[in-house]
C-alpha cells in the first residue's frame, strides 16, 4: 500500500483534435459492448426477474399456474411448520456450518502452505504444482473419489475405505460414519445448559436446526482438499509481492519471525484474505455438485442437504416450480449479501 502511489499511472491528457472522432469511438465502443449487454440482460437479469416472478406464483405442479400468491412460497420455508420448513432450516444450518469450516480451513491450510513454501525450499515448484493440482479437477470427480475414500462400511459387513485403514492401524476408535453420520450437535433441551436457556427464555435455540451436522465435516474435507491449494497460490503471490526491505527493516528493529508475520505480513495480506474469503464463500454458498456426487443427494435426516440441492429436487423432481424458485431467489440473496459490498468496495478502491 505504501508503494501504490508510485505505481499510479499518470494519464496522458487526450488530445482533442476532432470531436467527431471521439464521438465515433464512443459509438463503436457501445456497439461492441451491445451484444454482450443484450445477452447478459436476457440470459442473466431477465431470467433472474422471471425466477423472482415464478417464486410469487402458485405454479407447484406440472401445469403452469401464474396465480399470484405473494410471499407464500417463502413463508413455507421459514415458518410453514411442515417438512418443507424443517428441511430448509436444516439446509441453512448445513450451509452455515460448511461455509465457516470450509473458508476457515482453507485460509489456515492455504496460509500455512504458502509460508512453508516461502522458505525457499528445494523443489518449490514441484510442491506448488502438487498442492495446486486438485484445483484442476472438477467437484464431481472430487466428490466421487472422496465418496470411495469415506464410505464407512459396518462392523458386520466389513469396514471399507478410511475406516478399514484406521482399523488396520489399530485406531479403531477414530472410525466414523463420515458423510452418512446422522449425528447433529446442538444444545439439547434436557441438558443443564438447555434447561438454563429455557429458564431465561432462550429455549428456542435448543433445536437441531441451530447446531452442526457431523456429516458436513466430510464435505468440508473434500472441498478443503480441493481449494486449499488455490488459497495457497493466492497467498504465496501476496507474500512474494511484499518487498524484502520491509522484513529486513523489522528484523533490524529486533522483531522475531513470529512478530514479523503478526505485525507486518498478515496485515499486508489483508486484501488477499478478503479476495480469498469472497471467492471461497460464494463457492460454499452455491455448493451442489460436490455434495451431489458424494452423497447421491440423499442423507440421513438431511444431514448433508444444502439449499442448492433442495432447490434442484423441489423444482425438477417434485415439479414444484414456484417453491423451487423461492429457494433459488434466497440463494441469490445470500450470495448477493456477500458479493455486493465487495464489489462496491472494489469499485471505490479503483476510483481512488
Amino acid at each position: 500500500m505504501t508503494q501504490s502511489a508510485a505505481r499510479a499511472p499518470i494519464l496522458a491528457a487526450p488530445r482533442k483534435r476532432r470531436l467527431s472522432r471521439q464521438n465515433w469511438e464512443r459509438i463503436v465502443s457501445i456497439l461492441i459492448l451491445l451484444p454482450s449487454i443484450i445477452a447478459l440482460g436476457i440470459f442473466i437479469y431477465a431470467f433472474i426477474g422471471w425466477t423472482g416472478f415464478i417464486s410469487l406464483t402458485a405454479w407447484n405442479s406440472a401445469a403452469p399456474d401464474f396465480t399470484f400468491v405473494g410471499l407464500q412460497n417463502y413463508a413455507r420455508l421459514f415458518v410453514g411448520g411442515g417438512t418443507d420448513m424443517t428441511r430448509f432450516h436444516y439446509d441453512i444450518r448445513n450451509e452455515v456450518g460448511f461455509l465457516i469450516l470450509f473458508v476457515g480451513g482453507c485460509l489456515v491450510t492455504g496460509f500455512l502452505l504458502a509460508t512453508l513454501l516461502d522458505r525457499k525450499i528445494r523443489g518449490e515448484s514441484i510442491f506448488r504444482s502438487i498442492f495446486l493440482f486438485p484445483m484442476a479437477i472438477s467437484f464431481i470427480v472430487t466428490g466421487v473419489a472422496w465418496r470411495w475414500i469415506l464410505t464407512p462400511g459396518t462392523e458386520e459387513t466389513g469396514w471399507v475405505g478410511v475406516n478399514l485403514l484406521l482399523t488396520n492401524l489399530g485406531l479403531g476408535g477414530l472410525r466414523s460414519a463420515w458423510f452418512t453420520d446422522p449425528t447433529v450437535f446442538y444444545i439439547q433441551p434436557t441438558t443443564p445448559l438447555g434447561e438454563f436457556l429455557h429458564s431465561i427464555g432462550l429455549g428456542f435455540i435448543t433445536v437441531p436446526a441451530l447446531g452442526y451436522a457431523a456429516a458436513i465435516t466430510s464435505i468440508v474435507i473434500a472441498a478443503g482438499w480441493q481449494m486449499s491449494g488455490y488459497t495457497m497460490a493466492l497467498y504465496l503471490a501476496g507474500i512474494r509481492s511484499i518487498p524484502d526491505d520491509l522484513r529486513e527493516a523489522a528484523r533490524v528493529d529486533g522483531a522475531s519471525e513470529w512478530e514479523i508475520y503478526r505485525h507486518v505480513i498478515i496485515p499486508l495480506l489483508k486484501p488477499v484474505t478478503l479476495t480469498v474469503v469472497i471467492i471461497l464463500a460464494h463457492i460454499a454458498l452455491k455448493i451442489f455438485d460436490l455434495v451431489y456426487s458424494m452423497t447421491g443427494g440423499v442423507s440421513a435426516g438431511f444431514a448433508t442437504d444444502v439449499p442448492a440441492l433442495n432447490m434442484w429436487k423441489t423444482t425438477f423432481d417434485a415439479t414444484k416450480f414456484a417453491q423451487g424458485a423461492s429457494i433459488a431467489i434466497i440463494l441469490l440473496l445470500m450470495v448477493g449479501v456477500l458479493i455486493i459490498p465487495y464489489l462496491v468496495w472494489q469499485t471505490r478502491q479503483e476510483a481512488q
Partner: protein, 516 residues
C-alpha cells in the same frame, strides 16, 4: 487511423450479427443420399474408421448409416444397420458422396431426437414407426427387440426406428423427451410408467388417450380391473401396459436362514422380528437396506404401510379416502422404526443394488426390494434365495407397470396404433417379459418357461388385490411422492419421532389437495 476505425466497425457489426436469428434451412429430402460407391465390411472395420477414410472425420458416420439403410429398401443386398456400433464383416455399405454427406450432416439434428433417428432409416412402403424408450441394454433391450421382430413379421412394410439407439437412458430420457414434446417433435410412441406419470405430459395436450386401442382389442377384459383403475387417469387410458413389476417382496438368503434355524419366511411382523433376533443371535446381519438412490427408505415404508391395512384402505391413502391420521399409519411408523434398528448402519452409503449384493454375498439375510432384485440374483448366478410378500401384505400386490403412450404429434399415427395393438397382445407380452424379467400385464400369459419367482408372481397377480406404488410414480402426483411423502420418511428414518412424522404425512396429504 481510418483503417482501425473500419476494423472496429466490422467487428461490432459481426458481433451484432450473431444476435440475429439464423434462418432455418429447409429440410431437403433425406433420399438425396445417393451412393457414390459401395464398400464391403471386413473384419476390424468400424463405421467411424470408414468415415475417417472417406470424409476425413471419425464423427461423419451417420450419412453412411443413413445411406445404407435407404439403399437397403431398394436393394436388400445392402446391409440394414440398426446400431452404428455393430457392423459385421461381409455387410455391403453404401458410401454417399462427400457433398451429399455434408448436406446430410448439416440438417441432421443428432441421433437423440426422434426426427434425427428417423433420418437414419429408410421408409417402408407404409412409412416408419419411431419407438422411444430407455431400454437400451440387457434383458430389457432383448425383450424390446423381440417385440420389434413380431411387429416386423406382421407389418413388413413399416420401417421400425428405435429412438433409444444412442439416446440417454432412464431419467435423462424423460427430460429430453418432455422438452422435445413441448417443442412439437414427437416419436410415434414412447415408454411411460402407468399411473400418475401421465400427468407429466399434460394428458390431452402432449399425449392423446388410447381408449380406442382398448376398445378394439377388448383389453378391458384381459387386464385385471384394479390395473385398469390404476391406468385410468382423468377417466381415460393414456398407455398400453406391457409388463408388471412387484414392489412388496421380502427376499432372503436360504443358507443364512438355515444357519439361524429359521424354517419358514416370516408372514407377520412379529414373526419377522423373532426371525431377525434369531439371526442377530447367530451373528448374522438381519436386514440389508440401501439408501443412496434416494428411494429405498420410501419404498420400504410404502410396503410396510400396505401391510398395515387392507389393500383398499392403502389405495385410499392416495385418493383421500383413508385418513393419514389413522392409527394404522401410526403402527406402520412404529414397525418401520423397529425395522430400521435391524438394518445395516451404512445404508446411506449403499445403493439398492449394493444392498442386494450383501444378500448374494451371504453378509445379510433379508431385504425388502422390488422384483428387479430378481434380475440381479439371476445375473449374479445366485440361486439360494427365497421370497415372500412383505409381512402383512399377503394378498396385496404393490405394482408398477411400463406402458406405451401415444404422443399428440406422432408422425405415423396409423403405425403407432398397430404398435399399441401389438403391445397389448399375448404373444408380444409373453416374449417381452421373459427376457425383461417381469410378468405380463395380461392375466392369460403362459409362464411355463419362466423363472420360479416370476411364476409365483404371475400366480399372485391373478388373485391378489393390486395397489399402485407411490415411490415408483404410479399412485400420486410427483410433488407428493417425491417431496411431501419422501421428505417426511427421510426425516423420520433419522429422528424416529412417530408423532412428528405422522403430522408431516398428514400435512403432505393436505398439500396434495386431500384435506384430512
Amino acid at each position: 487511423m481510418n483503417k482501425v476505425k473500419w476494423i472496429y466497425a466490422i467487428v461490432a457489426l459481426a458481433l451484432l450479427a450473431t444476435l440475429l436469428p439464423t434462418g432455418s434451412a429447409q429440410a431437403a429430402p433425406a433420399s438425396a443420399l445417393a451412393c457414390s460407391k459401395t464398400y464391403t465390411v471386413s473384419a476390424g472395420d468400424t463405421l467411424s474408421g470408414i468415415a475417417d477414410k472417406e470424409y476425413g472425420s471419425v464423427k461423419a458416420y451417420w450419412p453412411i448409416m443413413a445411406g445404407t439403410n435407404l439403399k437397403n429398401k431398394e436393394d436388400s443386398s445392402f446391409a440394414h444397420i440398426e446400431n452404428p456400433d455393430l457392423i459385421e464383416p461381409g455387410w455391403k455399405l453404401c458410401i454417399p458422396s462427400a457433398d451429399d454427406a455434408k448436406a446430410f450432416l448439416a440438417e441432421f439434428p443428432g441421433p437423440n431426437t426422434p426426427a434425427g433417428v428417423s433420418m437414419l432409416f429408410g421408409k417402408g412402403a407404409k412409412g416408419q414407426l419411431i419407438v422411444a424408450s430407455w431400454w437400451t441394454n440387457g434383458g430389457e433391450f432383448a425383450g424390446l427387440n423381440e417385440m420389434f421382430k413380431q411387429f416386423k413379421a406382421a407389418n413388413p412394410d413399416v420401417e421400425i426406428v428405435n429412438a433409444a439407439i444412442a439416446g440417454g437412458a432412464g431419467t435423462n430420457f424423460k427430460g429430453q423427451l418432455l422438452s422435445q414434446l413441448l417443442g412439437g417433435v414427437a416419436p410415434d410412441t414412447f415408454q411411460l410408467h402407468a399411473g400418475w406419470e401421465a400427468d407429466t405430459y399434460d394428458p390431452g395436450t402432449l399425449i392423446v388417450n388410447v381408449d380406442d386401442v382398448y376398445a378394439r382389442n377388448k383389453l378391458e377384459s384381459v387386464f385385471p380391473p384394479t390395473l385398469l383403475n390404476m391406468l385410468k387417469f382423468k377417466d381415460h387410458y393414456w398407455g398400453v401396459p406391457v409388463n408388471i413389476h412387484r414392489s412388496n417382496v421380502l427376499w432372503y438368503n436360504k443358507a443364512l436362514f438355515e444357519k439361524a434355524g429359521i424354517t419358514a419366511p416370516p408372514a407377520t411382523w412379529d414373526e419377522f422380528f423373532a426371525a431377525a433376533d434369531k439371526l442377530k443371535a447367530a451373528g448374522i446381519q438381519p436386514v440389508a437396506l440401501g439408501g443412496k438412490d434416494g428411494f429405498e427408505l420410501q419404498h420400504t415404508f410404502e410396503t410396510i404401510l400396505a401391510g398395515s391395512m387392507s389393500a383398499e384402505e392403502y389405495a385410499g391413502l392416495w385418493t383421500g379416502k383413508t385418513s393419514w391420521k389413522s392409527e394404522k399409519v401410526t403402527n406402520a411408523l412404529n414397525t418401520f422404526k423397529k425395522y430400521l434398528t435391524y438394518a445395516n448402519a451404512d445404508r446411506d452409503a449403499l445403493t439398492w443394488a449394493a444392498a442386494t449384493q450383501l444378500l448374494i454375498d451371504g453378509k445379510a439375510a433379508m431385504n425388502i426390494m422390488g422384483d428387479w432384485a430378481n434380475g440381479q440374483f439371476i445375473s449374479g448366478n445366485f440361486t439360494d434365495y427365497g421370497w415372500a410378500p412383505v409381512p402383512g401384505t399377503k394378498g396385496t400386490f404393490v405394482a408398477l407397470s411400463d406402458s406405451f403412450a401415444l404422443p399428440a404429434k406422432a408422425p405415423n399415427v396409423e403405425n403407432a396404433n398397430l404398435w399399441l395393438d401389438l403391445a397389448g397382445s399375448k404373444p408380444a407380452q409373453e416374449a417381452f417379459n421373459k427376457l425383461k424379467g417381469s410378468i405380463c400385464a395380461r392375466t392369460d400369459c403362459d409362464y411355463s418357461t419362466y423363472n420360479g419367482y416370476l411364476q409365483s408372481a404371475a400366480a399372485d397377480w391373478k388373485v391378489d388385490a393390486i395397489v399402485p406404488s407411490v415411490t415408483h410414480g404410479a399412485a400420486a402426483k410427483p410433488s407428493w411422492a417425491t417431496k411431501g411423502y419422501a421428505d417426511a420418511v427421510t426425516l423420520f428414518a433419522t429422528s424416529g419421532d412417530v408423532a412428528a412424522a405422522q403430522t408431516a404425512l398428514v400435512q403432505a396429504a393436505v398439500d396434495a389437495g386431500y384435506p384430512q
